[in-house]
């Protein structure tokens, strides 16, 4: 029984950053923009959060609260770059997102060198984050289905031309959604570097961003289902650590687990016909006045 409770607690701890990042991605994808840069934005958020919370290393020189704000700002700003490239310049969303991941990981690795190996004092409690993420999922689910703003966002992702004709600013709405997605990815990063493992190490996002992207498809672009999806993946992560070294399966296999899981889960989602739930205009830049 204890074992089971422990597993659930660990799953929630693992699942929190997944939930935060995938909620952000749900919002920008419901507006029609794919952002594959989640992993990079998470890394930037993790570093920015740690740097501000750490200060110069002496107690009281940093601020956890400001660290969280900085992490969200870092993720949001990186996302705005993606928005500019894909919405204003109409470049391919997949290519831009991939570049953002590489860029984010690279920049965070470079700037983070001087923080590597220092522990953070005053680690915040996990529960506000976990509960906050779940409440956010509930709020977003309500917002999407039952408010005018949510309806507008969904319509922009389904049929931007129809929204445009009614005088709604498609590009502005998409910018907002992408920035929101980035801010949540940054917050997920801050959770990693402030709460989950209060330190900075290069590559600490360890593929979580990719899982979050896959999770969006797995949960069919639905914030409520994202709660269960993240707990499920959190559980898989927990099992991975539990089994590591205790079986004949090599460690490398466990290291590759997240990516294998992504593939398995996407295949699973494909079998269930989940792809059909994708917003109609997902991935396509909007140009007005095409006859």
């Amino acid at each position: 029984m204890d074992e089971l409770l422990n597993a659930l607690l660990r799953a929630l701890a693992f699942g929190t950053p997944l939930l935060l990042a995938s909620l952000g991605a749900v919002i920008n994808e419901r507006a029609g923009v794919v952002n594959l840069g989640v992993e990079g934005m998470m890394a930037l958020g993790a570093l920015a959060g740690f740097a501000v919370a750490y200060g110069d290393g002496s107690p009281g020189s940093g601020s956890i609260a400001l660290g969280i704000v900085a992490a969200m700002a870092a993720g949001g700003l990186a996302a705005l770059l993606h928005a500019f490239i894909t919405i204003t310049l109409r470049a391919n969303q997949f290519v831009s997102g991939l570049s953002l991941t590489l860029l984010g990981l690279g920049v965070a690795g470079l700037l983070g060198k001087k923080y590597e190996g220092f522990p953070l004092f005053g680690q915040p409690n996990q529960w506000p984050f976990t509960i906050g993420a779940i409440v956010l999922a509930l709020l977003l689910a309500f917002w999407l289905t039952s408010t005018r703003a949510g309806l507008t966002l969904r319509s922009v992702g389904e049929n931007p031309a129809a929204a445009d004709v009614l005088g709604l600013n498609v590009n502005l709405i998409r910018y907002g959604a992408v920035a929101f997605g980035g801010a949540l990815a940054g917050l997920a990063g801050a959770y990693l570097s402030l709460v989950y493992r209060p330190s900075w190490t290069d590559g600490m996002t360890a593929g979580l961003g990719w899982i979050a992207v896959a999770l969006v498809i797995f949960v069919g672009w639905n914030p409520l289902r994202a709660i269960f999806g993240s707990v499920f993946f959190g559980l898989l992560y927990y099992l991975q650590f539990r089994l590591q070294g205790k079986t004949f399966i090599p460690t490398e296999f466990f290291a590759a687990m997240p990516y294998l899981l992504v593939i398995v889960v996407l295949a699973f989602a494909g079998l269930r016909g989940q792809q059909g739930a994708a917003p109609e205009a997902l991935g396509r830049p909007y140009t007005r006045g095409e006859r």
Binding site: S146, R148, R154, S155, E158, N159, V165, L166
Partner: protein
């Protein structure tokens, strides 16, 4: 109806000397027109005359280069559709602009509606308006499950919810079945009685005579005529449009086909629809050289599947097809190479590549063969001259052969397909079988006449034509015999020379019929025939 309006009040909407230029064309050249309260104005004109451009200016989709727009006598600038709606001007677009996944209410709440539960906030109004004007729209229905006619009524509701006084309808009947047209006209009559003004575009002169009060004619971007509908006839309207007299007689002389060899034969065709339901249930078909067979039917009874099966674009579950006695392959490319021409239903997406040039679209079929290609390399000079020749013979109105085809007017896109599929007929051999689905969809009367002539000429040269159309007049004017698709079965054929609209209409609706197209046995006949005598509140009564 116009009498409700006093002569002193300014027109609800007026355009003064509006000019709109596009690269290479003046789409509107000093167009002046007005719309009074409580009247239905028809905009008539050939393909590319500038009708869609005029209404795009009215609705704020295009900004005019010159000229003035007045609402209630006051000069206004309509910069966007949102502004147009504020001024009380609504448009029902030819292709609905709806979010398929959302409900009707959600679609109509977009850009309006309350901050919370926007869909619910408009549902009551939708029901109310839907009831008042007999639209029969359920606010909770998913748009993806609606028929084209229902989607159109949702668009009408959108304008009504905004309280528009002017409603513009761009070729609204082209996507409708005959009985849906009757329903639309009832709605239009209700709106007119309410004092609202409507702009109606159609190439079908019968519809124009039936529903409109006044006609404004455009030719090559200029207004060339303005007349009350009362007293006009199909002939006078046609002459105003094309500048010469047009005849509407049945031109087809039924040839003696008894000795002609069978060209296309299909036996016991079985096929499933894209949803996996039976779409063809044992269809038998025989077309002789020189014969034109019409296929009537309410959309969705298997016509599309029949044509696609014959063109090799749809899987066959059972049955055989032979061409000149030889089994026809199941590959679309070999089928068209063996002489089967196909004029598809969805002209924009299936018939052309919208972003490619007129010249490239004209060459889509034969680009890999001489003279358009030599030794595997495209001959761009030949491509160009081929395109110019086609543009001339088929009278395609385009700024140049290099223009992207999506920029052309609706009717001219259709002409590109026709030119490509039928153009080589004058040369050696040409198509042996022509599968024509709504070939005159969106075409003006001049072009319609030309298509009819082209099809009859092809038949005269020994081709056989399968003509699928929802326009019963067209079928009756052109076919030698008419068959009716009903629930996946092909009924008939009936002799076209003796068949009547009413008779065919009854069979389309499922009434049993004798071989001459006269029905016996009671069927729900009022469903099918647009001019049926038992249709309630029919518009003819109001015009008389």
């Amino acid at each position: 109806m116009t009498s409700a309006h006093t002569a002193t009040a300014p027109p609800v909407l007026e355009l003064r000397a509006v000019t709109k230029r596009f690269p290479g064309v003046i789409a509107n050249d000093k167009v002046s027109l007005h719309l009074n309260a409580g009247e239905v104005l028809a905009l008539l004109g050939e393909n590319g005359a500038g009708k869609s451009t005029v209404i795009s200016v009215m609705y704020g989709l295009y900004r005019p280069d010159e000229g003035e727009t007045l609402v209630d006598g006051r000069a206004v600038t309509i910069g966007s559709p949102a502004q147009a709606l504020k001024l009380g001007i609504g448009l029902v677009p030819q292709h609905p602009m709806l979010v398929a996944r959302h409900s009707v209410a959600e679609n109509l709440a977009l850009g309006g509606g309350s901050a919370f539960f926007p869909g619910r906030s408009v549902a009551g109004r939708i029901r109310e308006l839907s009831e008042k004007y007999g639209l029969g729209v359920d606010p909770g229905a998913r748009v993806s499950q609606l028929s084209p006619g229902e989607k159109q009524r949702v668009e009408i509701l959108r304008s009504l919810l905004r309280g528009v006084r002017v409603l513009i309808l761009d070729e609204p009947t082209s996507v409708l079945t005959p009985q849906e047209v009757g329903g639309l006209f009832q709605v239009m009559n209700e709106l007119r009685k309410d004092g609202r003004s409507l702009v109606f575009i159609s190439h079908k002169l019968g519809e124009v005579l039936e529903i409109t009060d006044r006609v404004t004619v455009l030719r090559k971007g200029k207004v060339t005529g303005n007349a009350p509908t009362r007293g006009a006839t199909r002939e006078t309207l046609a002459e105003m449009m094309v500048g010469r007299s047009v005849s509407f007689e049945r031109k087809r002389q039924t040839p003696d086909l008894k000795a002609a060899p069978v060209r296309l034969a299909a036996h016991d065709l079985q096929a499933l629809s894209s949803r996996g339901l039976p779409a063809l249930r044992g269809v038998n078909l025989e077309l002789r050289a020189g014969e034109i067979v019409g296929v009537a039917g309410v959309a969705g009874n298997g016509q599309s599947e029949l044509v696609e099966v014959l063109a090799g674009l749809h899987d066959l579950q059972g049955g055989q097809i032979t061409l000149d006695g030889v089994a026809l392959g199941r590959n679309a490319r070999t089928i068209f190479e063996s002489g089967v021409a196909h004029i598809p239903e969805d002209r924009i997406h299936m018939g052309t590549v919208p972003s490619m040039s007129v010249a490239e679209n004209l060459a889509l079929r034969d680009y890999a063969k001489p003279p358009l290609s030599r030794g595997g390399v495209r001959d761009l000079g030949a491509l160009d001259s081929h395109a110019r020749q086609m543009v001339n013979t088929f009278d395609i109105s385009t700024p140049g052969v290099g223009t992207a085809s999506r920029l052309l007017s609706g009717g001219n896109i259709q002409k590109i397909i026709l030119a490509r599929e039928l153009g080589d007929l004058s040369g050696q051999g040409g198509a042996k079988v022509i599968l024509a689905v709504h070939p005159t969809y969106g075409l003006d009367i001049g072009a319609t006449e030309q298509v009819h002539r082209t099809l009859m000429d092809a038949a005269g040269r020994g081709a056989c034509v399968l003509l699928v159309s929802e326009d019963l007049d067209e079928l009756l004017a052109l076919s030698d015999s008419i068959a009716v698709m009903y629930h996946g079965e092909l009924l008939g054929p009936y002799d076209a020379a003796t068949a009547t609209r009413e008779g065919i209409g009854l069979i389309m609706a499922g009434g049993a019929a004798s071989t001459d197209g006269t029905p016996h046995g009671a069927g729900p006949g009022d469903l099918s025939v647009q001019a049926g005598p038992d249709e309630p509140n029919h518009t003819r009564g109001l015009k008389a």
